[in-house]
């Protein structure tokens, strides 16, 4: 199955409503960072929406109208968060897609959801671009729980090899390992490196291919498959 088919199946399951919580979160963030996936989701919404529209209306409790109007008082409709994010991600892709058509199809996404900050909706997305052949995947990090999950978007992992996630720059004098992505495409919280939120925006992320179990030297030893920086969402 190619990446497009994989994305279409994910879009279908997402719109259908059958994705478990973690995968659903990944899909929502992927939608913000990947125009192709967002378009596939829209197509599925269009296909299935007659089911929603067939429902018999039910009057909402009258107090909700007032609560909604109060909530939006002093708030203006924005085109900021998601729209700006899409624009940034698109610009990022355009800038890098020219390098190689293959690389573009293998773009990987690392998505950071900052659920811990005072801005509950603030999200960080890093579009990680392939530098060589390798599977594309989507990773999301829940900073609050410290969990990283990774979803393959395309090929299988290579036998006898592991993917390792690194943080570079932001004042670091050498790459910092954020953890080895396990067979279930997760980095367990207990093994996840700490990221200082203050230097998050200046951090370059990279995924390298390492011997099974991760780099033996605590520094990258294998080819770097994906790299990317965070895209500010606001």
């Amino acid at each position: 199955m190619d990446r497009h088919e994989e994305l279409d199946e994910l879009a279908a399951e997402f719109v259908l409503g059958a994705l478990p919580a973690a995968e659903r979160r990944d899909a929502i963030l992927l939608m913000a960072g990947d125009a192709e996936f967002a378009a596939l989701v829209k197509a599925w919404e269009r296909r299935l929406v007659p089911l929603s529209l067939a429902l018999e209306p039910v009057d909402a409790p009258p107090n909700i109208r007032g609560a909604v109007m109060k909530a939006i008082a002093g708030d203006r409709p924005d085109s900021s968060t998601i729209v700006a994010l899409e624009r940034n991600a698109r610009a990022w892709r355009l800038a890098t897609a020219a390098a190689s058509a293959i690389a573009a199809s293998l773009a990987a996404f690392i998505v950071f959801g900052s659920y811990s900050s005072q801005l509950p909706n603030q999200r960080y997305v890093a579009v990680l671009q392939a530098e060589g052949p390798g599977p594309g995947f989507l990773a999301s990090i829940d900073l609050k729980s410290g969990n990283i999950s990774v979803r393959t978007v395309g090929a299988e992992a290579q036998p006898g090899k592991s993917f390792e996630l690194w943080a570079l720059g932001g004042g670091r004098d050498k790459p910092q390992s954020l953890g080895v992505i396990d067979a279930a495409y997760r980095i367990p919280a207990s093994k996840l490196g700490k990221i200082d939120p203050a230097i998050l925006a200046d951090t370059l992320f990279a995924v390298s291919l390492e011997p099974e179990g991760g780099s033996p030297t605590s520094q990258p030893t294998g080819p770097v498959l994906f790299t990317g920086k965070l895209v500010a969402t606001d």
Binding site: L16, G17, A18, R24, V49, S52, A54, L55, A60
Partner: protein, 220 residues
Amino acid sequence: MIRARGVTLLSSPGRRLSSAQLVQLMGEVGRIGTMNTLAEPLDSELDGLLPLVATGDRLAFGRLYDLTSSKLFAVVRCILKKPELAEEALQEAFIKIWQRAASYEQGSIRPMGWLAAIARNQAIDIKRRVAERMSDGAVDIDDAGSISVLPEADLAMELSHLKKCLGQLPEERQDMVLLAYYQGWTRDELAAQFKKPATTIKTLLRRSLIVLKECLDGQA
């Protein structure tokens, strides 16, 4: 004449339907034939309102709320049985609608569908959040029972297409698709209900969706 009979047939008040019965109802709807008139004035008014909402027009937003809240409440109530959660979902959905009105692209989906998708997503997000809080990971199966379907069915054409396509699936798979769509059931919840492994459910759903896609796109 046929249409009038069809509408009469379907307008018995307060029909409560299981998902399997829903498929049957869609069969009845299909017999109504070509009609789509009831939805169109609403759609065109919404198409007029959404650009105003995007500029921050609160009056337009209030009107939009009045036109659509009962429909969107029906959508979220299917997914969230607890009234306080359904109300939270509706409120959050309208706040999102206010914030995102600028991103509505006229012509890409009917406006009511765009609004319904926001409400549905909000409700499913809340359902997943609540499920995640249950530390034991237990699957909380809501009543699979009743979904109340609009008797007039202004969307007869589109519904009848969907019904024909759903009809290509075995009945059990139709139920899986409808339970996921209307009630936001996950693979795990469907697995418990249909007594099959979640991986099997995943495969069945994906195959079903491929059948639906080919069928629906073929009729477009």
